[in-house]
Amino acid sequence: MVRSRKRKESLDNRIFNGIVTFLLVLCGLAALYPLLFVVVASISDPVRVNSGEVWLFPVGFQLDGYLQVFGNKWIFIGYRNSLIYTVLGTFLNVLVTLMAGYPLSRKDLYGRKLFNWYIAIPMWFGGGLIPTYVVVNHLHLVNTPLVLLILGLVSSFNIIICRTFIASLPYELQESAKIDGCSDFGILWKIVVPLSKPIIAVLCLYYAVGHWNDYFSAMIYVSDKNFQTLQVFLREILLLNQNIDLETIEDPAVVALKLQMAQVMKYSLIVVASIPLLIAYPFVQKFFVKGVMIGSVKG
């Protein structure tokens, strides 16, 4: 069947397929090339990267950039902090979201409508940056590591995604568990959670990426460098160039070399900073579509 259709394929059709393939390859390359270049430049000779000799393949292989990245105390601290915030924060986020999503999926919850409104309103109205800052300030949370875990503890949007998913599970399972004397906690933990793995994966993805890439709240609420996230250090090094200490060096040749090195170290740093996402990417990719779709039919 397929084969016979293939033979009948007209010239028009083949040209059309050719154009589609060409454009798609172009899109793929456009998305890939900047990322590929960063990786290639990170393992190339800094002088040759800066003089424009590196385009597609590494020239003058070296790993000094990476050595420098791993030797930097602040990058290490930032990396450690961001890992802690991401793991701990995501755990709390998903826990609280599930805890809220489950009761809201229950039709027999008294006052369900009220709760739904209470949770939905913050999606459309907010206090804005300054009033939120003022409240956090009054709670004495400014400049504590706690603020980065608490702020954004739960998002209304994700609760609604979660509620929609749980509501789509067969309710009979919960009912029969109830008849067997299972409590609401028990139903959530023993029945709903095991069935909700796809939505838990989506929530983990959303929350974890948010934590790992968080720069805004760290910049606004935390000033102590020891609690700071990786993204803040990335900005200092990558954009503000606050990495090269030139005071100790006099020789201009050494200064020039250091500047070149700093440039390549930036490429290495970008790679290192993105490694957790790269590792997670293949595992969570199959959940993307599900996540977006459940989110879009919220109602």
Partner: protein, 324 residues
């Protein structure tokens, strides 16, 4: 036997009487039966109250002269003073223009790309190519803003950036893109398209998958070629989705991604890159003018809301598709 039945009946009657004894009693018993569910909701309710509803109440400092020592409720009431200051300030016009321009450009130029990508992917007959392109185009979405802007400044650097190397290779003269007020919006929009197209296309891909294949079969029999089928079946098929996405985007037109603009900002491109959000941050957090900047923020959200309602209304009239 009959006696037993009767006693049973009366027991049921008694039970019903207890149950019907006023709504309050039954409401209370329903509350009590669900206590575990309420306990589960408690953290969310408390969190939203403190970090969403309290700040909403805190908006009133826009109408007061807020002092930390006096708190939100006891600071002096000044009415619309801060709004007036903002409207009369020198920056007002340029802030508004910059904010509107950058978001309108981002919306108009960014909007078609996800749809085009989704249509292309839908026409692709090779599953392998489709999967690969999807994997590649989704990836940039996960790059953090800091890394994104750093990549921009490295690629566009006039002395060492790869873009300028390519320009000089083609015979042009290197240009300091990041330090140019003229190039700022283009960089912002183009990099946004690079980062967001793949991710935003997901929803359209799903919408295309939902189109009835019988429509295509019928059109094929009628002799429609693939371009015609895209135009007459696929495009109308995803139109409702597209309209809703467009309305939602219009509703956030005044809330341009603060982070990216702030990170891309420097003293040389400030004339086009200073938007309301960055101004609020600088005046509010850095210079501690809480009341003044809350007023600006409130003004900003009001415009957002009005825009959302207007676009929603127009769309409802024209195409009968609306969010509300």
């Amino acid at each position: 036997m009959t006696k037993f039945l009767e006693s049973n009946k009366s027991a049921i009657k008694r039970e019903n009487a207890v149950r019907d004894k006023g709504g309050k009693r039954s409401a209370f018993s329903r509350l009590r039966r669900c206590w575990q569910l309420y306990l589960l909701l408690l953290p969310t309710v408390v969190y939203l109250f403190i970090f969403n509803y309290l700040p909403m109440a805190g908006i009133q400092i826009a109408f007061r002269d807020y002092k930390f020592s006096r708190g939100i409720w006891d600071s002096a009431w000044v009415g619309l003073k801060h709004f007036r200051t903002f409207f009369e300030s020198v920056q007002f016009e340029s802030l508004m223009l910059n904010t509107v321009k950058i978001s309108v450009y981002a919306l108009l130029f960014g909007f078609p790309f996800p749809i085009i990508l989704a249509l292309l992917l839908n026409e692709c007959r090779s599953m392998k190519l489709k999967k690969t392109v999807q994997t590649l185009t989704y990836a940039p979405y996960f790059i953090s803003t800091v890394v994104m802007v750093s990549m921009l400044s490295m690629f566009l650097s006039p002395s060492t950036g790869i873009v300028n190397k390519a320009i000089s290779l083609l015979g042009g003269t290197p240009y300091d893109f990041m330090g140019s007020a003229k190039a700022f919006r283009s960089i912002y929009v183009i990099s946004g398209i690079w980062q967001g197209t793949g991710w935003s296309s997901i929803i359209f891909i799903a919408a295309l998958a939902g189109i009835d294949p019988q429509l295509h079969e019928a059109a094929e029999i009628d002799g429609a070629n693939r371009l015609q089928r895209i135009w007459h079946i696929n495009l109308p098929g995803i139109l409702p989705t597209a309209v809703i996405v467009f309305i939602m985007n219009c509703g956030s037109i005044m809330s341009v991604g603060f982070e990216k603009v702030y990170l891309m900002q420097n003293s040389m491109n400030q004339s086009t890159s200073e938007i309301i959000a960055t101004y609020v941050y600088k005046m509010g957090i850095q210079k501690a003018q809480y009341s003044y900047t809350t007023a600006i923020g409130l003004f900003n959200s009001l415009i957002n809301l009005v825009l959302l309602l207007i676009v929603n209304h127009i769309s409802k009239k024209v195409s009968e598709i609306s969010v509300f």
